[in-house]
């Protein structure tokens, strides 16, 4: 399944960029093409972050465990569109004016939030390879990659702080993020109760349990 699905999905992920390029080439990006490019790449960054965050709940709930094989690439696409989004800002909006950008980052909280979201993605993109998982160690790698929760949150806040009055779209993203986080919280609470329930009878074999175990627990 994964073998043929992977290339199809990954090509589809380039669709938003292809569409922008095609429309741009044919002069179909409307009155303010740079604004369209900025908004579109920003939207797709958030979408890929949310899709990446959906992989784990989806695969657990549907028991389609092979889905994990897609997660890394979805995450990298979030980084890819995020890089394009940042590039439109650095190049098309600020024309590489470093002074102006630094002032922006310090003064404008929506830029601060956006930069935070992007910066948090950098270590995740860099350590996305199998080699890095080995080097860091699975547990620590997983902990590091939980930064995506914060990155996505910062991305949504960036959007909320940007709009003038109509919060409906950014709040939709916030709702999606909230649901995906809620799932994790529920799972974490459940695993905790289950682990505690399981401790006496299963996890620790009878003979290896210290004699004074019961007194330690209370």
């Amino acid at each position: 399944m994964l073998r043929w699905l992977k290339p199809v999905i990954f090509l589809a992920c380039l669709g938003p960029l292809a569409r922008l390029a095609w429309k741009g080439f044919h002069g179909m990006l409307g009155a303010n093409p740079i604004e369209v490019i900025t908004h579109s790449t920003g939207d797709w960054t958030l979408i890929f972050l949310m899709v990446t965050l959906s992989v784990t709940p989806l695969r657990k709930l549907t028991r389609q465990y092979w889905l994990i094989g897609l997660r890394r690439r979805f995450g990298l696409y979030a980084f890819f569109y995020g890089t394009l989004h940042l590039t439109t800002y650095v190049w098309l909006d600020k024309f590489f004016d470093l002074h102006e950008m630094l002032a922006d980052i310090a003064k404008r909280r929506f830029i601060t939030a956006g930069m935070t979201a992007f910066t948090l993605m950098i270590p995740l993109a860099l350590t996305s390879t199998k080699g890095w998982i080995r080097r860091i160690g699975g547990k620590r790698w997983q902990a590091l990659h939980r930064l995506i929760y914060l990155s996505a949150a910062a991305g949504v806040i960036h959007y909320i702080w940007l709009v003038k009055a109509d919060l409906r779209k950014p709040l939709q993203y916030a709702a999606v993020w909230g649901v995906l986080m809620l799932y994790r919280i529920v799972m974490w609470l459940r695993s905790r109760t289950q682990a505690r329930a399981a401790v006496p009878s299963q996890t620790i074999p009878e003979k290896s349990r210290p004699a004074d175990y019961a007194s330690q627990r209370r």
């Binding site: 303010n32 740079i34 709930l61 940007l162 329930a197």
Partner: protein, 320 residues
Amino acid sequence: MLIKRAGDIPSSEITPKNLCLNRRKFLTGAAIAGAAAATGIGLREVISPTTIVQAGNKIDGIKKSSFSTTETITPYKDVTNYNNYYEFSTDKYEPAGLAKNFRTRPWKVKIDGLVDKKQELDIDTILKMATPEERIYRHRCVEGWSIVVPWVGFSLSELIKRVNPQGKAKFVEFTTLNDPRQMPGLRAPVLNWPYVEGLRMDEAMHPLALLCFGMYGEDLLNQDGAPLRIVIPWKYGFKSAKAIVRIRFVEKQPINSWNEATPNEYGFYSNVNPTVDHPRWSQAKERRLGEFLKRPTLMFNGYGDQVASLYNGMDLKKNF
């Protein structure tokens, strides 16, 4: 929340199995809905922007105006397909389609407040008050983009003179139509509808302040504020109220909609001013639609020679 002591209850007893499964189903649904919602938000992006070409009726007997700029006029299709018109939609590409069947006749404008004769003026009476002029103005949006538009109309003062405001009237308040059946954007409480804007009396009487009913030599298009709007070229675009149904003369400074929504971001005056930033973005530069590089924004949008004296002695940082 009831927290059961772990250790003496097997986990299967904490939640009955069928509930467990239901919860699993619910969570599956939620996750799928979440992913779908995220993708759905994106799909809407795929649809926009579209370009709709429309044409109005030619307006006869338009005279030229010395107030016009000689700068390149922004293409008609851009000005008529890129509209900040929240009564229709907060997406700038949507009003062109959503306003297509907007009814601009019959149309009355209520004149009230501190005037000698309160009255309802028919739009066609207003249009005959003075000779239409073409005024090619720069138009700068608070968001950082700008256009050059050949508006058609006459000075707002022509109307104000004819309705005799009283001496106590210090401000003029403009109200936009509030008809959710025709204007779908009004169904969401994005701003406190109806849209209200205001000018100080001397600003409203300034010859540059335009009562506008046409563009590019034709009738104003619905998405650009038909049948009647004002155009105040030295102020950010949102001051130029569209589809006006009421003009009220008042003693106290009106509360304009954007100021009411976000007082620290949008003031009453809202003069174009490159030295006073919007709290969330710089106002030093602007992108003229159709241009790649940004250009510097001019004080009072380049109309300083004519209007700066209106604000003598005022702190424009405070009165932004």
